[in-house]
């Protein structure tokens, strides 16, 4: 992914925040406007640095600013999205539907079995042990009632 896309995306986001600030009265927007304007200016500088424009190169040399290195370049953005958004998103969605503990059981089992390619038996044992430990620690010892999920709440209703 080209590094200049990130500041560009952030400029759009901060600009919408700046525009949004004008919905509030003058005292409420005083600092948000100041911060947004200042951040947009910095983002423009960062954009020039990453795009390696004439001014950007001079700023980079002057401040000894590092190029925004994309860490773990060997991991493609698609794979990164699957790990960062896909799996955690799946866990959250599952928790919302069937409740936290069953979701943890299924999530650990699937991530061990599918991502780590562990055997079904081993994945199941680890997932069951972890779920039991979570129940023991949070529900039994600390007396928290963990979220039961939309499905279970509707059934209870």
């Amino acid at each position: 992914m080209k590094n200049q896309y990130i500041p560009l995306l952030l400029i759009l986001l901060m600009t919408s925040i700046l525009i949004g600030a004008y919905n509030y009265d003058s005292s409420a927007r005083a600092l948000p406007v100041l911060v947004a304007v200042f951040t947009i200016m910095l983002l423009i500088v960062e954009l020039m640095v990453q795009a390696k424009t004439h001014i950007g190169v001079r700023v980079k040399n002057f401040l000894e600013t590092e190029d925004s290195e994309e860490n773990q370049e060997s991991i493609s953005i698609g794979r990164a999205l699957i790990y960062s958004v896909g799996w955690p998103g799946f866990l959250v969605a599952l928790s919302a539907i069937i409740g936290i503990l069953p979701a943890v059981l299924i999530y650990i089992f699937l991530s061990l079995n599918i991502v780590a390619r562990k055997s079904i038996g081993r994945s199941l044992v680890v997932a069951l042990a972890m779920t039991a430990l979570s129940w023991f620690l949070f529900e039994f010892v600390m007396s928290y009632q963990l979220y039961r999920g939309i499905l279970m709440n509707n059934l209870a209703w």
């Binding site: 000894e64 998103g89 650990i108 991530s111």
Partner: protein
Amino acid sequence: MTDTFLQAITYLFTIESLSYLALGTVIGLLFGAIPGLGGTTALALLIPMTFGMQPDAAIVLVGGIMGGVPFGGSLSAILLNTPGIAPNAATCFDGYPLARKGKAGIAIGAAATASALGGLIGVGVMLAVIPVAKAIVLLFGPPEFFMLGVLGLSAIAVSTGGKLIRGLISGGFGLILAFVGFDEVGGGLRYTAGIEYLWDGVPLVPVLIGLFAISEMINLMAVGGQVSTGTGSASVGKVFEGVQAVFNNLATLIRGSSIGAFIGAVPGIGGTVASFLSYTVTRQISKKPESFGKGNIQGVIASEAANNAKDGGSLIPTLAFGIPGSAEMAVFLGVLVLHGFEPGPRLLLDHENVIYGLVMALALSCLFASAIGLCLSRYLVLLTRTDVHYLAPIVLSIALIGAYALQSSFGDVIVAMIFGVIGYFMVRFDYPRITLVIALVLGGIVERSYHQSLMMSGGSHSIFFTRLVTDILLVLIVISLALPVFRILFSGRRKG
């Protein structure tokens, strides 16, 4: 002061408190020994579990974790050449060569003793500074706190090295996040997008869990493999020789601890600089500099003493002014907020017992960590060989449960996960997370102080420039922002 101090000691030496301290220390050792986890992740994960605890007990548990992490990290640095946490990297230089020579026990004994004594010296510095900090805090009004908040943000952004611009950008987004929710001055709502959950603002603790615990796990899952690729052996012996070596090199210990305590007190600099600086200074003044990097025990003592002493130092700006100097301290502030303490001067003035309790817990945990760590060292090192495919989903699940358990709100789970993803991409695209968190912590204080100052002056901004302390702080802000320029000019002249 004496009464509060004695109260803190009395509480600390109860069975309940010592148990929490031991538990915290073991957790700290565990998280410190496993590269990629560290104290920030440990604290972020543990915050929700302290919710049902008494504040005193929670503070002791946290003190145990903070004391245990640095020594845990030194074990994997010495035995596997893989620093558990970044500041332990300097320990690798001489610790691992010693282990290769079959002297791992000596290195571990020296690291344990230097950690314990360095930690105690750092705590001693903290205790000595508390009365002075109290006197300074009393001179501060809203304009001074506004300027101090700005100084904290600029100092931390500058300390991100070659990422000054990206550090400031992260800080800008952190401040905007701090403005979300009910506006104390105008009385309206800002940036809530009609979501009721955001009326109280973006909750700090789920953000911390997401940015530091979840993002690290996503990172581990994406990379895969083992936590550590070190090939050293986990055999440990001759520990007592290492303990003795520290007492034979007391000057190295005291110098390293002093550097650690001083560097720790400067927001944003952190343990890595402290331990490397201590290591470099020790090497430069040594009569045998060529022996460093080949297994000189002084290298281990210097870096470990500084690494542990910095905790005492970094508590000074965190507790006295509410300015966390590092990510770990920012998460620690999250613990205080969760237990109803407002970070900043009121904490120092009204809750001295909390501060002394923490300081004493930190001191004792340094001793606990060294004692427990020595007993468990060979087992702790085995943990670093864990397959991350087991570790990551388990820690991710605990983070999710912890986020929910905070206030039984599924919104917190969603926030933690969103910030986990944001944190992962911040690491991937090299945007510092620390400035975002510190801006989020400081945003409320900065805005409140800004409006209070304007009320005091009848709307005139001159109040920020016409008071002695604000002027001093302004000069410090200018110096901190101009430092990179001075550094370049200086290095250019030197090269010329």
